[in-house]
């Protein structure tokens, strides 16, 4: 069956969402047009409003409606600590853990040379400018423990150390509550390589 042009357009638009294939998109479209018309209107307005008002923080590239995000603007945050992450979701995850009082820098990705994604695409120029301001003392590299994340962390740690600043990497390894026998070899090797001394 052929959809009306507006319906087809809506289905097509919904497919830009992650994990949404043609079947799911059709189900969503029919729901929005059938029982969910009120919600659909709020959704449309919400998207439109966010697109108009949400930009990137001038300092850390996190989503914000102001020039600076809440973290960068807060005088309570320690400006000498800078945590570099791959995505806005990582900022949210670290904030929810509650233990971090420094600031962030969001790369919006990682080095992916085969896809042509290098320093420029990750805003490394902006990061360099931030480091040159002289407030940051330690850069915490919290990119993912993937090959791409490791390459990104390595590259940024060299930039950081060349400026005479401290570069640290978040620890990876055995999850809390995990049992060794169920952990894969790669993770165990990483955990062993990053072992710590006890009793100091």
């Amino acid at each position: 069956m052929k959809h009306a042009p507006s319906v087809a357009r809506l289905i097509d638009a919904l497919r830009t969402l992650p994990g949404v294939g043609p079947k799911t998109a059709q189900r969503m479209a029919f729901h929005l047009l059938q029982d969910g018309r009120e919600g659909a209107r709020r959704l449309a307005e919400g998207i439109d409003h966010a697109l108009t008002n949400v930009g990137r923080c001038r300092c850390c590239r996190m989503f914000t409606e102001a020039e600076l995000c809440a973290v960068c603007e807060s005088p309570q945050r320690d400006a000498s600590l800078l945590c570099v992450v791959e995505s806005p979701a990582d900022v949210v995850a670290i904030e929810q853990s509650g233990g971090y009082r420094g600031r962030y820098f969001v790369l919006m990705g990682h080095l992916s040379p085969l896809d042509g994604i290098g320093p420029e695409q990750l805003g490394v120029g902006e990061l360099e400018a931030l480091l040159s301001e002289g407030l940051v003392q330690e850069v915490i590299l919290a990119t993912n423990p993937t090959v791409e994340g490791e390459a990104t962390a390595h590259f940024l740690s060299e930039l950081t150390r060349a400026r005479g600043l401290r570069a640290t990497r978040i620890a990876h390894g055995v999850p809390i509550g995990g049992e060794l026998e169920y952990i894969d070899g790669g993770t165990l090797a990483h955990a062993l390589a990053g072992r710590l001394s006890l009793g100091q």
Partner: protein, 267 residues
């Protein structure tokens, strides 16, 4: 294509991209079946045991069913006796450069066990932290020879006379080496070409000639296609140079001179 089943072939993941929320499309290089796309279902996320295995540069044994665009990964394990970790972080850019050469020069579904073994050996050399430029030049040379791009080191194109150490040669990609005068522009020293053929890549002058020659031969083999890894490596080098310069101007005594990151740069 149902029914086709491959058990535990040696493979490397060359490239991967996420597929839906939990899966990946893998561009793999297998020893016995050449390059192919494998669909790896449910390998992303915290509960996947194979997520940490399915990384580039790690020797793996994989099983799959089907062929063409529909081949599905059914099992993967680390190759026995092989390293479970990837390359050292400083060698990753070089590793991706090797991968891009394979992705662009090895055809799909064309078994190349000798190229596979060359690639595995080259990764081992990078893992052993051998001098990167020599490792890369050796890989480029052997790859072009094994894939039949007509690189015949050691002989003149016309007549097949052996190259001589004290003479100079021009290189024409489709033809080969042609003797020329020692003052000819862009000529290669015979001794550099013989050293490259013998894998004796230590002197700077030899390495530079080898780099220039391989660049010309690869550009011809790539038929005008750009290498993205080269562009990214150049940008990384520029950032590192800026950082080194800023440390000199900001705090002259803070650090010893920063080593230029040339060893990370493919070419």
């Amino acid at each position: 294509m149902r029914g086709r089943r491959v058990e535990l072939d040696a493979v490397f993941v060359l490239h991967h991209r996420p597929w839906r929320d939990t899966s990946r499309m893998l561009d793999v290089f297998t020893r016995e079946h050449g390059r192919l796309m494998l669909f790896a279902r449910g390998v992303r996320g915290p509960r996947s045991r194979s997520a940490s295995l399915l990384q580039p540069f790690v020797p793996l044994l994989a099983s799959w069913t089907g062929s063409g665009e529909t081949a599905q990964l059914t099992q993967v394990e680390a190759a026995p006796g092989g390293p479970v970790a990837s390359l050292p972080a400083g060698a990753l850019l070089s590793g991706w450069y090797l991968n891009e050469l394979l992705l662009k020069l090895v055809l799909r579904a064309d078994p190349q066990p000798a190229v596979f073994d060359l690639y595995a050996r080259t990764l081992d050399r990078l893992r052993d932290r051998q001098a990167v430029p020599a490792v890369l030049r050796g890989f480029e040379r052997d790859l072009l020879v094994l894939l039949g791009f007509g690189l015949e080191l050691g002989r003149e194109a016309q007549g097949g006379a052996p190259l001589q150490a004290d003479r100079y040669y021009h290189f024409h990609p489709s033809l080969g080496f042609v003797a020329t005068g020692d003052d000819a522009e862009a000529a290669y020293a015979g001794r550099s070409l013989l050293a490259l053929a013998d894998d004796d890549l230590q002197e700077d002058a030899v390495l530079e000639d080898a780099r220039r020659l391989m660049r010309t031969a690869l550009d011809d083999a790539l038929e005008g296609r750009e290498l993205r890894t080269r562009g990214v490596a150049r940008a990384v080098t520029r950032s590192a140079a800026r950082a080194a310069a800023s440390s000199v101007s900001a705090s002259p005594a803070a650090l010893p001179a920063v080593k230029p990151p040339s060893e990370e740069t493919p070419s």
